[in-house]
Assembly symmetry: D2
Homo-oligomer: 133 residues x 4
């Protein structure tokens, strides 16, 4: 199973008045993890949309928050695929504070493979092998 | 059980290049629903933080996406409490396109009652009665 | 000159760790003001894109911050057009705390009229009369 | 004059239904540029808030948009200080598509030095030398 690591630094814009990262931003970070997963798997997500004509629409997202990320923290995101079917797939994520490896959050997203009109289709064969479950 | 309705209009900023609302924004809308829940229950969430000295930190969030919201759609959000304990509570949400009542998404958030230092505490008695399970 | 008023309530997501609204959100609010300007002028911005085939791309944005908006504040946005040319127009904005009319920010955005391929075009005649300078 | 470079990759979340980056996100990127300016100048912005007890509140922001950034573009941000006074300073920015050096946007932000209560104060001497105009 391929586990892909990416890192980002928490932006001021991502904090809220509690002094910690606002909870919806972890879903944005999961997307950053997915895009990097594709890069390291050997293709660009944007080419899959532009040239392959398919996109991965989100049908479910889930996040469990363990510790709060703070402004300027470096966050390590691990991304991997836990389920791959002909028309859908599932990503899992682990987010840690890079400085001390503290677990910040775990999550998952379920995706449907769709054409650019939003209709469910089979994942084209050339992309299938990239997702290593 | 109190079910509270609130409405908002989809902002251009909330769309993405798929032409639909980006998935993390539904969690922002759930927060809009929670704040209105508090208003209609009889208190202001911001006063609970400022005067009550407690906040509801999110420990889990989940969203199932059924249909895509689009720019300028009016969205109806139903918010209610499904579980209330001494130190935690759970909200559930239903989001619909107001025009045709089409279900857009359902979701839930789990919260821990914390003091302003982030330590778990009991929900103060004066707020307990507001949450009608 | 038509001055259009719209109101919104500050979301928790819009605050940052200073405890006030993060500065880029005022540009999102200006967009909310523009969309409402169109509504009150007699057309829907989304129809201008979908049916009219033109969009108003932003070429410049400016905001002067006078006082900080806070979570749950009701904000009043005044929007009007200060310049209208064949291929461009300029909006101005005034944002106030509704509770006490305190001025929060003033701003302006410059727009180029483009077709859906992003090429500058003349503003179609049927929309011209809507913008009342 | 110190000009600091930082780079970021455009997130899907930052695009809108025009298929390009939504205009308010350039102000978020300016903040990313400022934080990196501080890092390369020799201090951490978050320490200036936490330990120095001062923050740089934004009093004006301006952005001129030249070309549209797209999803997955690598963006190069140049940040420098154009004016430094006892209680205020001004940053300027240049954002380019890294792939071809195409200019995307230029901008500026004006800041007031404030203590943590939001009152204007003099920039502490130990930070003064870091800002190299």
């Amino acid at each position: 199973m391929r586990k892909v690591e990416t890192r980002l630094r928490v932006r001021y814009a991502e904090t809220d008045q509690m002094g910690i990262v606002y909870y919806s931003n972890y879903l944005v970070w999961m997307e950053v993890g997915r895009v990097e997963y594709c890069n390291q798997a050997g293709f660009q997500y944007r080419d899959m949309e532009r040239k392959g004509g398919v996109m991965l629409t989100v049908t479910e997202a889930q996040c469990t928050y363990r510790a709060a990320a703070e402004f300027d923290d470096e966050v390590q995101i691990l991304t991997w695929v836990t389920d791959l079917r002909s028309r859908s797939l599932r990503f899992a994520y682990e987010m840690r504070r890079a400085r001390n490896c503290q677990l910040l959050a775990t999550g998952a997203t379920q995706h449907l493979v769709c054409n650019l009109d939003g209709k469910p289709v089979r994942l084209p064969k050339q992309y299938r092998s990239f997702f290593d479950v």
